[in-house]
């Protein structure tokens, strides 16, 4: 079974600075999808960024980018120019392209942004 590990329970960043959230996963599959979701105190899950495993190029969405290392099974999220509104719980998630459609989530990382 696939597993997703987020080793940082909590991170802090100064406003306007850059922070990187770590995620590793375990799978024997070659085709899959990876996601970062943000959950603010409102508890609404918001899709931040996604990466298809077959794409070598790292995904980027405005201030959010990923460092996808397929061989190392690593999928970190970099947030540039951090803003107060970035404060939230961030979840890394894995989805197989072959076996079912389930999202497997990591434990989450709480991101605090200091002004």
């Amino acid at each position: 079974a696939q597993t997703v590990t987020q080793s940082q329970p909590e991170m802090s960043v100064q406003e306007a600075e850059t922070v990187t959230l770590s995620c590793t996963y375990d799978t024997s599959e070659s085709d899959y999808y990876l996601f970062w979701y943000k959950q603010p105190p409102s508890r609404q899950m918001i899709l931040v960024i996604r990466q298809e495993a077959y794409k070598q190029q790292n995904a980027t969405e405005n201030r959010f980018s990923v460092n996808f290392q397929k061989a190392a099974k690593s999928f970190s999220l970099k947030i540039s120019d951090s803003q107060l509104g970035d404060a939230a719980m961030y979840f890394c998630a894995y989805r197989s392209a072959s076996y079912g459609n389930k999202l497997v989530f990591g434990a989450g990382t709480i991101l605090r942004v200091k002004s």
Partner: protein, 113 residues
Amino acid sequence: SAVISQKPSRDICQRGTSLTIQCQVDSQVTMMFWYRQQPGQSLTLIATANQGSEATYESGFVIDKFPISRPNLTFSTLTVSNMSPEDSSIYLCSGSWSYNEQFFGPGTRLTVL
């Protein structure tokens, strides 16, 4: 993207009773899911809601406790039956029409006294 709504947004219930949560998607989706999120924890998949057939439950979750309906491609319900305080949690509905997209409802916060 899809907009997913849930009703109720929150409820406080007495033990032994049941609560039905509704999930409405503003467009047709291939797959719908129900998750549970306990306070400060990650999301755990309860089941996949299948249109026109019985839901597919994950290990540790059973139909008698969490009956699910999905009458069409935009609507699903989850019932939490014979509730106990251990069922206090946030329940989230999710919809997807492709492997690289999955959207979530705002969640239902359930407190069982």
